[in-house]
Symmetry: C2
Subunit: 503 residues, 2 copies
């Protein structure tokens, strides 16, 4: 690094260290925090977040960034750091601190009201808090600005920089039109036996999860696996990456696919270039791309026939009570059953994206203030029925099922669908470049795909915007073609189906 870059680098390191501390406080809140410590932790987090915001909007940082933008001697990586931090800072500068604080308070209240409403099983108890959160989010979006677009653009941009509502609508409408007929065909197939519900001792599940994580290449001496109610990936640094999962003694799904999902996120975090540590480049360029890694490992690897051919004998031996009469092919069908369900997190690879379409449509309406909140539950239920073909029995199965809106997080859901599309495109590119990939997975050599992802995706960090990086790797940008191909091939083989080009 040039000496002139050092003061800016020190600022970047300070911001990353603060973010790391926030990461540990958040992780601890979900794992080891004593039950009476919640209020104190909320105070500590709010203080650190305010400090982070204050340092980010500091005028001196603005000057350093401005000088750096005019410095022709900077390396490409340094320029990328300046670009990313400038983008982050400009968003932060536009939001008045009073609004930041009001949002933090409304988020605490929102979470509380959401839990309350779930306990009462009625949306009405959550409505006032949600109304306030939406009001503040609209104000925030207007403060950030959305030139030539609409408010939802400003929120999307936080998670998927550069993405616009109009383009996302096109992508999701096209995806919906292709998925609906596929889902219709697959839901008509005979239901496989549910092999993964039964007697699955907790200690053996834990051993299996750690083994699979190790074989995926997740470094447990630079990270951890713990349990939490809502699985997530957190931590403080690429050498301190913390995954959580939850273990249900009656069901293997949650722990195993949860660990693989978070393990995919974790590999991304551990895979950043050492030269980028404590800089803005040690980050994924978008949440969609981050999600592509978790979905790739969870679905394209973990729900593949090759994976189950490899792991089934061992899993059967560990869980002989539940799986004594099963075989690899049956379990493979179990973990890939396509079914109409109300709950997003339980959804299969096909219908999952329809749950996202629903949330996207509603979020856009809410940001426009074009949907009276009283009508939200009915609107949710009717759209669920239209899109997926089932109807929630009550608000807990419907509009109250996800935690995101409880703290005012709008604009995040679409990144799950983008993650599915990016995952399929990356996996297709890997298959082209790594001819023996399926055989390698079947032999437990997960390092082949991992090292490819590390080199092509993880080590790049935030050097390029998400779509540009994907284009560099796959030869084309965001598309659903690879995803639809993947589904048709996988389910076509599974059920002996031939898809006509219209479906």
């Amino acid at each position: 690094m040039a000496p002139s870059f050092e003061p800016l680098l020190a600022r970047m390191q300070e911001l990353k260290d603060l973010a790391g501390a926030i990461g540990l406080l958040t992780w601890d809140q979900e794992t080891y925090l004593p039950s009476k410590g919640g209020e104190a932790r909320a105070d500590q987090l709010s203080t650190l977040q305010a400090l982070h915001h204050e340092r980010l909007v500091d005028a001196a940082l603005g000057s350093l960034l401005e000088d750096a933008r005019g410095d022709a001697s900077l390396t490409g990586d340094a320029r990328a750091m300046v670009r990313v931090l400038t983008w982050e800072r400009e968003r932060a500068v536009r939001v008045p601190e009073s609004l930041v604080r009001e949002l933090a308070q409304a988020q605490s209240r929102g979470l509380h009201a959401w839990h309350q409403a779930r306990a009462e099983r009625r949306f009405a108890a959550f409505l006032p808090a949600l109304s306030r959160l939406l009001e503040l989010r609209r104000a925030e979006a207007d403060a950030i600005g959305h030139p030539g677009g609409e408010r939802y653009d400003a929120l999307l941009d936080a998670y998927e920089p550069g993405m616009k509502t109009a383009r996302l609508r096109e992508v999701l409408e096209a995806l919906e039109s292709r998925l609906v007929p596929i889902a219709r065909v697959l839901c008509e197939q005979p239901a496989p036996r549910d092999w993964l519900t039964g007697d699955f001792p907790v200690a053996a599940q834990w051993r299996l999860c750690e083994q699979v994580l190790r074989e995926m290449g997740f470094d447990l001496s630079a990270g951890r696996l713990d349990t939490s109610v809502h699985p997530f990936t957190g931590g403080t640094h690429p050498r301190d990456v913390r995954l959580t999962t939850r273990v249900d003694p009656r069901n293997l799904r949650q722990a195993l696919f949860g660990a693989m999902h978070e393990g995919g996120h974790g590999l991304y975090e551990q895979g950043f270039d050492e030269a980028h540590y404590r800089t803005p480049l040690a980050a994924a360029p978008s949440m969609g791309l981050h999600e592509s890694q978790s979905r790739l490992w969870e679905n394209m690897v973990g729900r593949s026939h090759a994976f189950w051919r490899r792991y089934f004998p061992q899993v059967q031996a560990e869980f002989s009570a539940a799986l004594g009469n099963a075989d690899a092919g049956s379990v493979y069908r179990t973990v890939n059953q396509v079914t109409r369900s109300n709950i997003r997190v339980d959804a299969d690879e096909v219908t999952y994206n329809l749950h996202i379409v629903l949330r996207f449509q509603l979020e856009v309406l809410l940001m426009r203030d074009a949907l009276p909140l009283e009508e939200l539950p009915r609107e949710w239920n009717e759209r669920t029925e239209r899109l997926i073909g089932v109807r929630p029995a009550d608000d807990v199965e419907g509009v109250l099922q996800d935690i995101h809106w409880a703290y005012g997080e709008l604009g995040y859901f679409p990144t799950y669908a983008l993650g599915n599309l990016y995952a399929a495109s990356l996996f297709a590119a890997a298959r082209r470049e790594l001819p023996g990939l399926d055989e390698a997975i079947e032999h437990g050599e997960l390092s082949l795909i991992r090292e490819w992802l590390r080199r092509r995706v993880h080590a790049e960090g935030y050097r390029y915007p998400a779509e540009e990086l994907v284009t560099r790797i796959t030869g084309r940008g965001l598309t659903d073609a690879d995803f639809i191909d993947y589904l048709r091939t996988k389910y076509g083989e599974m059920y002996g189906l031939r898809w006509d080009s219209a479906s």
Copy 2:
């Protein structure tokens, strides 16, 4: 609180929240941090500590404190908060930031060199790092100032505000003169059988520790117990207090007395007044007073005959392999054996303080730069022989045994001895005010002493300086009279001894 106090209160809360975050990062470093995360954690801690220092020395905080000192409308608690924070800030302001950073670096290097030197079992490998640390500590002490006294005063003041080297020397010399003859008599007694070494299954030790902590009144829903190599008490807030202990499957001592020791610290932290949370009053007024609580629970309760009469039957049932042939009286003798040993942390209640005298004498010389470092190991060994009557076989048993100097912590050791004296005075006062105290302990009613300590000591927080608080409770200040009485009574009864007034 008066509205005029609010901006100052907000500053206090911010400082406490930052300290809480530092507390969590430190706790995690010793408990759950992945092995490769050490360097990143050192960076994060150094960033947060620099931020804490920056906020503390901020001129705006200085002005708020100055205004508050002139505000006659403040409550007594508010005035105490202003006094404590002013004291803390004035120390910080005098130390240049460059020195703060140099010290942080030298501490990292010192710890590394100390571990290295212990591995090589020779002090010479630690000498250069220690030399640098001492140089910086001398500079720090001179920056803080020590009017009319000596450098060591400035370090002592950080842990035991108001304590001076000259007075401490008097206290420790008098204590030494009284302890040496007592130790001589007790070391001549026949050695009891060592009941606490043997087969002590880890899970049962853990259950016992948690039970004793609960019965002591430590709230495990406002705190935790985990394992670490060096037991300590940490956490982020009075409702998030974290104890650690270590469990040796061949020895019950470490886990049980470690848990009771840290539990004493933990009760203090949990016992602060809710009205003082996130202010400078939610703190002990000195490390000596903090240590009085751990020593009181570990020794005056945990090594009492009453305690063992209560817990022995249960402990025997849990650990029947080791204790099948023991009885309460024998175990009581085992845990109270007085013996000449090289290692401070293994020392009994009598000789422990002689280890502190040794360290105090050497620390004063080191701060005066009056002892060439090459001579430190020999000096250590000769003084050990003179004071305690044994000679370390090598530097690991001698000058390298404690971690404190490895990160340049000088001035802390004396608080352990002060803690023993304060503990005895407080326990004597409790006995006077609570006539059935021993019987209560024997019936497992630990709440009697706990509630007394909570009311008289913990809930006061940092309202008064340590010695003033002790005087308010016991009627007199720092004295070794109660401690010597306690030892003479305890060991006199144990061995049927009569002490003549000269010994």
